[in-house]
Symmetry: C2
Subunit: 201 residues, 2 copies
């Protein structure tokens, strides 16, 4: 049956979906209410039109809302700017409710092996924002990977002459984690980045 | 962002998809080629129209092909009939290439706890087929669960008076499996259902 096979093939191109899960999804779609299928199809078809990028911070924003809700909110702390790899990182950080500043999306990290240098990233706009906006601190929230660290270091050098405080998200043992299962590099980092007990809430 | 949230919600209704995977899928859909989204949306929207059920065996068939390719094939062994729970089981068995007979889909199993009795299953059609077609053996391929076993037993009683051989898929340690990790019931079954060495290929 080619139609079902086509659907399974298409579904298995989604991230984290293998052939087995794609089959299960296809059978589900075959037997669920058609109303759901119609809605899902419409959402998938329209998502790229209805969700766009903010011209200021490059995070996701709804069609017709540019700058995005965060960039144009009067309630955000405009002195701190959080630099992230991807637009979805903005949503992840927003979900914590722990950050009240603005964002800047790099759209990648420096990765020489993949042929991605600083010029591929959204850095000129970052420098421009630093000059034009009243930013006092840049929090670099790239992932604690080799590429993320390299990028953080690069940005820190780039920004140094602007006289701005540059910080990096703490790296260490996850809350609820176990020393026994943490890797050595993480433990070493958590030692180097140890915090005074009274500074923890 | 409500649109993105709507998409994530809709995706997380798919089987085996939690909120995290749904988010990853949504971000992928946001950033992949629109052509893929259009194709996937069209497939999802049309699948229930384009894939239907065979009026004879109740397995999936493409729109306009009733009876299905298996039921109408001149190359199938019409004397053996494999009884399965769901239409997708037909595809799973077909993929093995090990069965060349016909199928019959029950559309469920007897499950008193869920209020599903024999009258909810596609059994009258099974009896009718037994009477009208030249079936010599019924292979019951319901899952080796309590419900699947009960259903197998029920069918075996039902069919007994028709003088037809009724068999059941062997249950035992999966090929490549390990005795040490098999549960006791499976091991007990594999003992009861032990086969003569020469009978194995």
């Amino acid at each position: 049956m080619t139609v079902l096979e086509d659907l399974i093939q298409a579904l298995s191109r989604l991230p984290g979906v293998g052939r087995k899960s794609a089959s299960r999804m296809a059978y589900h779609l075959l037997q669920t209410d058609q109303e759901y299928n119609t809605r899902l199809a419409r959402l998938i078809h329209g998502i790229q039109q209805r969700v766009q990028r903010c011209s200021r911070c490059r995070s996701f924003t709804e069609e017709g809302r540019d700058p995005c809700d965060i960039c144009s909110s009067p309630n955000r702390d405009r002195r701190s700017l959080c630099v992230v790899e991807h637009p979805q990182d903005v949503l992840t950080l927003e979900a914590t409710g722990a950050f009240h500043g603005l964002f800047h999306v790099l759209d990648g990290v420096i990765s020489p092996l993949d042929g991605i240098g600083p010029e591929e990233l959204n850095l000129p706009a970052l420098l421009q924002r630093i000059r034009e906006e009243q930013i006092g601190e840049i929090i670099i929230a790239t992932n604690p990977t080799e590429e993320g660290d390299t990028t953080a270091l690069y940005i820190s050098h780039l920004v140094k002459k602007e006289g701005i405080r540059v910080t990096r998200l703490a790296s260490g043992i996850p809350v609820g984690g176990d020393l026994e299962y943490a890797d050595r590099i993480t433990i070493a980092r958590s030692l180097r980045g140890r915090t005074l007990l009274e500074s923890l809430e």
